[in-house]
């Protein structure tokens, strides 16, 4: 007899979604979380009277939570209050120009027309193909496990249109954009979406360009901060008698003849279970928690071969006044070349880029409850390397980093930032690693390119250890709030079919 039916390591979105469905189906479930909170990357913290989001700033594909709550016999609105964001983005160029992309496609068409009349035709084609790709690529693939070639073939047969658009898998993001838009300014305004997959436009697969389209199907923010999403799922999980223990770090997955049989915590507790579900980085799960000695040689090699995804230092500022931003998300406009250079000439060389990806997020534009009266929250998110060159480390360059980001926003993008700051907190890649035990502060677990996605990403049902399942950013669907939630749904459905 095992102590529990299912043990979940980590209370991120994937772990919570999986746990809630299992608990709802009567599976005796325990979630072990090393920190004091649910949500992992998708958490909010309190600092000097402000509620700051430590990771994500918005969600796409809100319908994923509708599917989750429907499976739980509940309504999303009773647990999470999503607010629609419009305009989706506002852009500031270094010569002070501004433009926005509203949620409405026709209005965005007008913006494109003003930027580059030649690109209106390209925009129409982009919208046409984008709506098809949204159905096939994002909606259908979201609930297909995609573990084997057979899964892929069935997916292909069910979605015959995909074969016509397969080229977007084999070209890069940059080329895909060029196929639609002539003007560098328009392409640049969409280039940042490559970083939504954690890669620069040169390395990111071409299909990701359609995220610029799916944004128009709705971008949302949960009232109360991004941490309200995991809190909502946690509530439903507890209502179904699911159990969570905080401050419990799992240091070992116990295996018996290649079968997961339970876990050991840092405090020395051994707890047995029929299945173990890992919501942590797949490399850590396999190489450290199971251990190289308990894995087949090929599995060790495969895990070692994955690169961690990139890191996102997040500078959280409390402001005594709005600094004139037009939207929740403001992108400091950079060329595609700058975005590539940020990766190749800076990050890969251990240097912090000064351009290429600078996202300002001001959630208090929609949700005033996050800050004291008339005050605002602002997150400045950039891409940066975990390992710094020149013998520097993140702890020693904290102040320098904060000052340099404020300087860029003030000098290059002409926003009056410094004198409005009343609170500041920086989460460096090192902080993410310490807080969430996410190696290298990798925000999407492992990289998400064609060679490490779909059938080449660690499987939801482990191929090496029986009764071990993976959820979260380093398994199928990759990083992102909807995708990790969907991985939890997929895993729970699979476990209920195969084990209980």
């Amino acid at each position: 007899m095992s102590d529990y039916d299912a043990i979940i390591i980590g209370a991120g979105l994937g772990g919570l979604a999986c746990g809630a469905i299992l608990a709802r189906s009567g599976v005796k479930t325990l979630i072990l979380e090393q920190s004091g909170n649910t949500g992992g990357c998708c958490s909010s913290i309190q600092h000097d009277g402000f509620t700051f989001d430590i990771g994500p700033s918005v969600v796409e594909f809100k319908w994923v939570w509708d599917i989750l709550f429907e499976k739980l016999g509940r309504k999303t609105a009773d647990y999470i209050d999503f607010i629609e964001i419009d305009p989706i983005y506002s852009f500031i160029t270094s010569d002070g120009k501004r433009f926005s992309y509203p949620a409405d496609l026709t209005k965005t068409r007008k913006t494109i027309e003003t930027l580059s009349p030649d690109d209106v035709k390209g925009w129409d084609k982009f919208v046409r193909i984008g709506s098809g790709m949204s159905e096939i690529f994002f909606k259908s693939s979201m609930f297909t496990p995609m573990m084997t070639l057979r899964d892929m073939m069935i997916f292909g047969i069910k979605n015959p249109l995909l074969s016509l658009k397969l080229k977007y898998v084999f070209i890069n993001f940059e080329s895909a954009l060029k196929g639609f838009f002539k003007s560098e300014a328009v392409r640049a305004s969409m280039g940042m979406h490559a970083y939504y997959l954690g890669l620069p436009p040169a390395l990111c697969p071409g299909y990701a360009v359609f995220l610029c389209y799916t944004d128009h199907e709705g971008v949302h923010y949960p009232k109360g901060g991004m941490g309200s999403i995991p809190k909502g799922i946690e509530k439903a999980y507890r209502e179904e008698d699911g159990e969570i223990r905080f401050g419990e770090r799992v240091i070992k997955i116990i295996t018996d003849k290649n079968r997961a049989a339970g876990i050991r915590t840092a405090s020395g507790k051994e707890i047995t279970s029929r299945v173990v579900i890992s919501n942590i980085n797949a490399k850590t799960c396999y190489l450290d928690l199971i251990g190289r000695d308990y894995l087949p040689r090929w599995a060790v090699k495969a895990m070692e071969s994955y690169e961690y995804s990139f890191a996102n230092p997040n500078l959280m500022l409390g402001l005594k006044d709005q600094i004139g931003l037009d939207a929740h998300h403001t992108v400091c406009h950079s060329t595609i070349e700058d975005m590539n250079s940020a990766w190749f000439d800076y990050c890969l060389k251990g240097k912090i880029p000064s351009r290429g990806f600078l996202l300002l997020s001001c959630p208090t534009i929609e949700d005033h409850s996050l800050a004291p009266e008339n005050h605002h929250c602002l997150n400045i998110v950039t891409v940066a390397p975990y390992r710094l060159s020149g013998g520097k480390d993140w702890d020693s360059i904290r102040e320098e980093y904060i000052e340099s980001r404020i300087d860029i926003v003030e000098k290059e993008f002409h926003l009056n930032l410094r004198e409005n700051i009343v609170a500041a907190k920086l989460n460096t890649p090192k902080d993410f690693e310490r807080m969430l035990l996410q190696p290298e502060g990798a925000i999407f677990g492992i990289q998400f390119d064609n060679a490490s996605s779909m059938i080449f990403r660690p499987r939801i049902r482990s191929g090496a250890i029986k009764n071990l399942y993976l959820v979260g950013s380093s398994t199928h669907l990759g990083g992102g709030t909807p995708t990790t939630t969907a991985s939890g749904i997929l895993a729970a459905d699979m476990i209920l079919r195969e084990v209980f």
């Binding site: 070209i171 390395l203 090929w298 071969s305 590539n340 390119d449 060679a451 490490s452 660690p458 090496a464």
Partner: protein
Amino acid sequence: MVKKLIPIILIAGTAFLVMKYVKAPESKKRFIKHLVVQIPYLPGRYYA
């Protein structure tokens, strides 16, 4: 006859791909190189 042709086709095909790669813009080269260096790991990744 067919057996004799296979190596020729393979060599010609490889030469064609190499030529295309050499002529490709820097961005495409980076994309291809990034994936090609990972090919040896794909079988292991597939089963993990």
